[in-house]
Each structure stands twice: as C-alpha cells, then as structure tokens.
Amino acid sequence: MPFDKILVAIDGSECSNRAFAKALDLATLANARITALAVEGPLPAYAATVGEVDEVKREKDLFFSALASRVRQEAKQRGLEVDVDVRPGHAAELISQVATEGRYDLVVLGHRGHFLRDHLLGSTADRVAEHAPCPVMIVR
C-alpha cells in the first residue's frame, strides 16, 4: 500500500475518534508513520473582555493536551507511535497546509466536527477534500 505518511485530524468528537481508529488500522496495515493533527479552533471573535478570551484559550489548551495524551495512549496499545501536533488556527486551511508542507500520502478525518460553525461554511471535510494535495479519507 503506497501510504508511508498518514495525517489524521483529531478534535475529540465521535467522528474524529472513528477516523483516528481507522487511521491506526491503516497505519498498521501499511506500516506507515502516523501524525495526529489537533487544530485548536478560533478564539471567540469580537470578545468583550480579556477574561472571555483567556478562559476559552485555557479550556482549549487543557482539552487538547488531554486529547493528545489519549491518542498517544491508544496508539501505544496498538503497538504504534503517533506524533501529535497541536496548532491554533482554522481547521480546513491548516490541515491542507500541514498535509502539503509535510508531504503526507493520505489525510484521514471525520465527516463532522463538534460545532455548528463546522457546517456553516461547508464542512471541514469537504474543504480539505477540495484543497488537500493527497488522497483524503473521510470517515463516517
């Protein structure tokens, strides 16, 4: 199987958990290197207080730190090592950018995320499928 480097997008949602499990299956089959990209979404736009921004940022940091530990543990149980890359930004843009810069052979992601905003401008999966430089596997 021609997949040496797999990028899987994770956000802790049910769909992303299924996508991560599928990515682990594929990595096992193809003996591929796997990287989990966790995108911390945008901070509250047009906030009225620094506190609101601070709290959301802190919650995101805690959430994604716990998520990174969890996916490392899951991969370890399957005998795999996973690199976890947590970055702030807009999901679709960043996933495509990381896939391009890292020369990944496959991007795996769930078909929907946590929030309504993930669907307002078209789903992240749709946009990654359109812009990614490599095959994209969308997991339902």
């Binding site: 979404g41 945008p42 901070l43 509250p44 736009a45 047009y46 906030a47 009225a48 207080t49 620094v50 506190g51 609101e52 921004v53 601070d54 709290e55 940022k57 702030p88 930004g89 929030f115 309504l116 905003r117 307002l120």
Partner: protein, 388 residues
C-alpha cells in the same frame, strides 16, 4: 409584561445566546447585544428598573475587570512607544466625531462629547484575541499594541469622568474614598483574601462588589462617574489577581454567568431598529468619523513603532466594543442622548468591533512563526503576561 416575566424572558435569551456563542464561535457579549436588539424590538419591552441597576453595576464591574486585566509590568516597559499611539488613538476620533456631531449633525455639546468618547475607544479584548491567535501577543509588536490599547482606554474612562462631572459637595467624600480604596485595597486584600478567601460563600467577590457599589453610590451623589476609580482600582489590584488566578476566575464566572449578560442585553434592548434604519446615512458618517481619524492618526506612529505590521496595528486600534457600550449606556441612562443617538452609537461600536478585525485577519494577518515571536519577545513578564 410583569417584572418576573421579563426576567424569565431575558434569562432564557441569555441561555440561548450562550449556546449560540459556543456553536458559532462568536463572543457571547456580541450575541447578547444582538439578542437584546431582537428581544427589545420584537416584544417592545420596557426596561425595568432592576435591569437598569444590574446593567449599571455590571458596567462598573466590567471596567474594574478591564483594569485588573492590564499587564502593568509590560506597560511600564513599553509606555514610551505606547503612549503616543494610545493617546492619538483616543484623541483623533474623539475630536473628529465630537466636531462632526456638533457641527455636522447638530447634536448639542454634551451629546457630541458622548459620541466622541464612545467612538474613541479601542477594544482590549478584541485586540487581545487576535494577538493570541496570531502568536503576536508574545512579540514586541503585540506587547506595544496591548499597552497602547490601555492608554486609549484610560483616556476614555478619564474623559467620561471629567467631562460630565457636575460636582456637588459629595465630590469630596467620593474622591477621598476612591483614593483610600486605591491605596488601601491592594494592601489589605492579601490579609482579607487569606483569612476569608477560598470559601464557597466567596467573601472576596463580595468585597469587590461592596467596594464597587460604594463607588457607584458616592459617584452618583457627587454627580460624577465611578468608572475612573473602578478602572484604577482594577489596575492596582491587577498584580494581586495575577498571583491569584483562581480568585480572578471566580469573579469572571460570577460576572459572565449573571451580571454582564444583563449589561449587554440592556444595551441591545435600548437600540431602536427603526431609528437605525431611518438613519443609515448618519450611521455611515459616524463610522467614517471613527475609522478615518484612527487611520490618519495611528498609522504614521504605527509605521514607526510596530513596523512591519503598521496596517494590522492601525486596524486593531480601530476596534471598539466594551467601553463604547459603557459610554453610550451612560449617556442614555443619564439622559444626555436619546434612543436614536444611542442606537447609532451602539451600531457604530459593534461595526467597529467587526469590520476592522475582519479586514485585519483576512488581509493583513501577520504570519509569525513561533520562533520569530520568541525572538521578538521582550524579557519574560513577571505576572499577568506570563499566562496570557
């Protein structure tokens, strides 16, 4: 509609606003403001006196919190570069909007001053969110921008206090008590918080509320404003809160859960959609009155102090939200401006939160790598900035 029915409707609105804010990633304050416009205009609600009181108190609490969120050590390091940008960012739109309103739109002197003040502000929170997202909060340009925003904000609250004071004899106890609190509270609070803090009954939050209520009362009796002492009080307490994050978080929880939603809802409810629709031309003039002088004044200084991000800096210094709302609501509550002028000012304030921010992020977003940000950063901050 009875008071309790209005309360039920507003609390339900606050709940819905919170969930929408999380789902679509917009600030809860902005959603509450817009929800207030919808609820107020749909149900034609009167604003009950309890809402006016909670709104006023929440406004002073927001001002206190804004002071407490300032990174004082960072400001001390960057004040020379920041004072000029911050002062011009305040004075240019204040003068232009004030003159425009007075001589172009025929507003009276006090209305024009409220207009000038409301549109002179820069939103610390909007600036901060963008800086954190871009990573510039750790770079020199971000630190200068935050400090300049502080200068603009303190000029606004000082203007609001000084311009509208019609002192009575109560000004003496107001000033004395304010000074005593500003000097005494940072010294006594460690003992008070140590002895009575960390309890579910939250004496430390009650202490802050008691102090702010005292300032509100004395300020009212003196025909003055509590915002300046509240802001300075927050400022002198910022070091304490930076070392005791949990206390600040608890205060935020109480404020966000119950108080500030009513402040922004009341602001929205007082907006007349019909008046806005009928005055779109004036709205455009006032918006330009804020943006053009901000650009003309800030951009040349930004080229000197925050290059190569001068346009980005200028756009962010043109944002506004909380202090613009506080100033406009003060003008409405004090009977200085009518509902139409209030609606126009709030609309421009909201537009100024959205438009320059969106342009800055879409077209002028700096691509700062973390290594670059680290190399640009000033020496590690001793307090608040470290966790920001």
């Amino acid at each position: 509609m009875s008071d309790i029915a209005i309360a039920a409707l507003l609390v339900a609105t606050i709940l819905i606003a919170s969930t929408i804010s999380i789902e679509i990633g917009l600030s809860v304050a902005l959603i509450e403001l817009l929800a207030g416009v919808i609820v107020g205009n749909t149900f034609d609600l009167r604003v009950p006196s309890w809402l006016t009181f909670i709104g006023s108190f929440a406004g002073v609490l927001l001002t206190f919190q804004a002071g407490a969120e300032v990174d004082v050590p960072q400001f001390r390091r960057e004040w020379k570069a920041s004072v000029s940008i911050g002062f011009v960012s305040f004075f240019a739109p204040f003068a232009v909007v004030g003159l425009l309103a007075r001589y172009g739109l025929g507003w009276n002197r006090r209305e024009s001053e409220i207009g000038g003040l409301a549109l002179s502000t820069t939103s610390l929170a909007v600036v901060y969110a963008v800086l954190v997202e871009t990573g510039l909060n750790r770079a020199l340009v971000g630190k200068r921008l935050m400090s300049a925003t502080f200068v603009t904000d303190i000029a606004t609250v000082a203007g609001l206090t000084v311009l509208f004071v019609k002192p009575t004899l109560w000004i003496v106890p107001f000033v004395v008590v304010s000074l005593a609190l500003i000097v005494g509270l940072p010294k006594t609070s460690p003992w008070f918080f140590g002895r009575y803090g960390n309890r579910v009954i939250e004496p430390e939050i009650k202490l802050v509320f008691a102090v702010l209520c005292l300032l509100l009362w004395l300020g009212g009796r003196a025909n003055s404003q509590a915002v300046l002492p509240a802001f300075i009080l927050g400022l002198v307490m910022s070091d304490h809160y930076a070392r005791h994050r949990i206390e600040q978080e608890r205060l935020r929880v109480v404020a966000f859960a119950f108080l500030t939603p009513f402040f922004f809802l009341k602001g929205g409810m007082s907006v007349s959609a019909g008046a806005l629709w009928a005055n779109l031309g004036i709205l455009a003039i006032l918006f330009a009155g804020k943006m053009v002088p901000k650009f003309a004044g800030v951009y040349p200084l930004a080229r000197r102090y925050t290059a190569p991000h001068a346009t980005f800096t200028t756009l962010l210094m043109s944002t506004g939200l909380t202090f613009g709302t506080i100033t406009s609501l003060y003008g409405l509550n004090a009977g200085i401006i009518d509902r139409t002028k209030f609606s126009l000012l709030i609309a421009v304030v909201v537009l100024s939160a959205i438009v320059p921010t969106a342009i800055a992020q879409r077209f002028f977003r700096p691509h700062v790598e973390l290594e670059d940000a680290a190399s640009l950063a000033a020496p590690a901050t001793a307090q608040a900035g470290a966790s920001r």
